[in-house]
Symmetry: C2
Subunit: 496 residues, 2 copies
């Protein structure tokens, strides 16, 4: 690194002054961060959209962003009740309008009463509006068959990501071999790898078992942990259920085994459960870690530390833009929990409209409410359609020679494995690209379809995947699947 | 630290297992974080509110939270136009309602066109909706008398806090004497000290000159920098203008001198300008660092790195709950700027309703729009009232023996200095409290008025202050000022 030129006259003379902040001098942890879901392929997709708008000729007429779980961007319509209540909260003079149902008005008034100055424009307390935390607690109780939830253990957040990073932040400490290690599944949602890189913690990979529909394998978990103990101090275990990008839904037995493992090995459990409403496969059912933990009884229920995350961005509502989410902590040390509250207070509060929206998600209309029927119908329609898309995706991909797609049991993505011809792998290496990145870039340039290479999520050496959302409208999804399959066939032919 | 009990049977036998995450094992940087604006005094205020609700007798009937710049919580009404547009964006079927003005509808349609799937519920690109970044750029150009702003240099954020922390994060590197140091004013807004503690950077204090209405003194800046160079590598200089908590508005000359200093000394400049619309004193005027920098010409305009922050939470709108904000970077290294975009992408995007609201702030109705007259009237009323409150606060405090209050030239706070009797200081020390914390806690318990002790912002050794917002409605503010003054007199008498 060149030494800085500090002498003004010299700087003036040669007209050149090295910048304070350069790639060489910036935070090296930030440099190491990678986030494939919004990485180079998405940059290129944005450029292509720009070019299309400028009238540049392409072999396609639109870019289809199947890279990110953004339902409404793909045309899913917002749930009417949610938006009615929010509009009333934003502009309370609408409360006198006859065009809004009574239950929406009651709901809006209830939320506004709980806001400072009865306005969404006030800060809330840092952990979120008390009333909404109480509603979240009741939602969790209903979900978990009556197992109690304490509003004081619930912290609202700016999407689930914010809460996940906050909990990771608490866990990070030590240097060298005492550095905190965090076990994450591979493939993973790259928020985890990005946050661990930024926090300078050690990412400890455990591989999901693709041959068994991406199941979590205890022996593999153990292998990963024991090997990591030579390098760092593993202190937390992250689980994503339903899986992202892998779409598996964990069985109750698996969850029990994971909890027992975490307890025995002294690991803080982080359960990313943002797709808890997105379960499609017959025989699959969502079990919350909290419920299983509590049902296992002492010492697990009384001692095992757990943080469970949820979000308003997924499910049937798909309200990503509002950045609503929460974390429930269980058996967390009281002092640490206070420290977590303090840390969150520095950012003042999660966005209040997102908090309000989350409230509607956790306390939707009940059968006696005028909005119930429409709400239920809209909700059911979205989930039924997602379910159909999950099946269609699996079916189409599995017809293509060289592509294998595990069942999309839940969440919003397929993560098919593909064979790539050795010559394509070689060509990619010449270009300095991961082979699946090479494939995905070519796919984008030739078809306008934007999917994320498996290398952005992690995969076993020598295997290649991509993540594609199942969110495009049914007609479009069918075309996308066919185009993609066709492209893979052509690509394979080209490099054979 | 006791060694962990890893043996399950043993854990089962004694029924006790040390937690993974404790005060001893958690992130030590997070432990060091302090954030007075939402610290212990605010916790106590919340408890008192709870007690009042439960019917506990107190010497007051309500808690007045003058601890935080939260205008709408203090009864300020939202600007009608902003909320109309937002309601239309949230619930687009209102676009056919005759109850909304045409310009609000046009504005809402324009924003929705720029959203994925024409919905606030979609993620935006991580740096914020392109159209809104363009509107921000135009706003900056108008503000700065035509000096151009590039939308590519603008990143929308989750309030200004988020952007400030992001830029600090980029700057942090090194170990020991090479550790990044950041110069911050004392008194400061404690986001800075909190973020630097969390990032394990070195906080380098420069003291504002209370005798000259909290002016920034170049000699003091130099002293702070040169002393710090023995301990760390100072790389950035933060300036808050108008000042928080100190309310001063910097002169153009002062800003020029600061820029020259930063340039000569090789410091990245961070200008916290969230109170740019809140200037009250005659003869005071807001000058943006960007404008002054550009007007100084080369080498400053072409080389000095600057990040300037703004927010939708303050000004005349006070929409804190929406968490809208932005940063403009100037002369930032292209690669670093790309890294900043990457870092922001991990959190997906700032809340889209906050982005939409920011758009209305930067492109409000113009004279030919139907909403113009009302918008202007509402805006003017809020600012005129704040101006009157600023003057009243200064006047009342300066009549009290033992209190001295500098003019509140801008922002939303007074930061008066008070004399505390030696016996009160001694009593506080016996209780393990900072003397001004002792004063503020007593004030809260006896009057219900919640203000933040100066020790939470930093102050010269042996001086005592508190920060109080000027936001309560005029009648209430008058009573609060009188009660507080009276309390100080009684407190002084009690400990004399």
């Amino acid at each position: 690194m060149a030494s800085r030129v500090r002498d003004q006259s010299q700087a003036g003379r040669n007209g050149l002054k090295e910048k304070v902040l350069t790639l060489d001098t910036m935070n090296p942890c930030v440099r190491r961060v990678e986030y494939a879901v919004r990485g180079p392929i998405v940059q290129r997709a944005l450029e292509l959209e720009q070019e299309l708008r400028q009238g540049v000729k392409k072999p396609f007429t639109e870019v289809i962003r199947a890279n990110i779980g953004d339902a409404q961007a793909m045309g899913q319509r917002p749930i009417t009740f949610l938006r009615q209540v929010l509009a009333l909260c934003v502009h309370p003079s609408l409360l006198s309008s006859p065009d809004f149902p009574e239950d929406a008005k009651r709901k809006a008034e209830r939320i506004l009463q709980a806001c400072g100055g009865h306005s969404l424009g006030s800060y809330s307390v840092s952990s979120g509006i008390q009333l909404i935390r109480e509603d979240v607690a009741q939602y969790i109780e209903r979900r978990d068959g009556g197992i109690p939830a304490d509003p004081n253990n619930i912290f609202l957040s700016t999407g689930a990501s914010d809460a996940i990073v906050t909990v990771l932040k608490l866990l990070v400490s030590g240097e060298g071999r005492a550095r905190t290690g965090v076990l994450i599944p591979i493939p993973q949602y790259p928020l985890y790898s990005a946050a661990l890189a930024e926090l300078d913690a050690v990412q400890v990979d455990y591989y999901l078992d693709e041959e068994r529909a991406w199941a979590l394998d205890l022996a593999e978990l153990r292998r990963a942990l024991y090997q990591a103990r030579d390098l760092c101090r593993p202190r937390a275990l992250c689980v994503i259920n339903p899986g992202n990008p892998t779409g598996q839904v964990q069985t109750r037995e698996c969850i029990e085994a994971v909890i027992r493992f975490a307890f025995e090995e002294g690991l803080f459990l982080m359960a990313d459960e943002v797709y808890q409403d997105n379960v499609y496969a017959e025989g699959s059912e969502f079990h919350s870690f909290k419920k299983v933990l509590m049902e296992m009884g002492p010492p697990y229920s009384t001692q095992q530390e757990l943080a469970s995350f949820h979000s308003a961005s997924k499910g049937y509502m798909g309200e990503c833009g509002f950045r609503g989410g929460y974390v429930e902590v269980v058996n967390m040390d009281t002092d640490v929990q206070q420290q977590m509250g303090k840390l969150m207070s520095v950012r003042l509060c999660p966005p209040v409209p997102g908090q309000a929206l989350l409230d509607m998600v956790v306390s939707p209309p009940t059968p006696s409410d005028p909005s119930f029927a429409q709400f239920q119908a809209e909700r059911r329609e979205v989930l039924a359609e997602l379910s159909a898309k999950a099946k269609l995706t699996e079916q189409v991909f599995n017809k293509v020679p060289g592509i294998h797609c595990n069942p999309v049991q839940g969440a919003m993505y397929s993560f098919p494995r593909m064979q790539l011809p050795p010559r394509a792998v070689q060509r990619a290496q010449e270009l300095g690209l991961a082979p699946d990145m090479f494939f995905c870039l070519r796919l984008l340039e030739e078809t306008g379809i934007c999917v994320v290479p498996g290398s952005g999520f992690g995969q076993r050496e020598g295997t290649y995947h991509f993540r594609m959302t199942i969110l495009p409208p049914m007609d479009k999804l069918r075309k996308v699947l066919e185009k993609l399959s066709h492209f893979h066939t052509e690509f394979t032919r080209e490099f054979s």
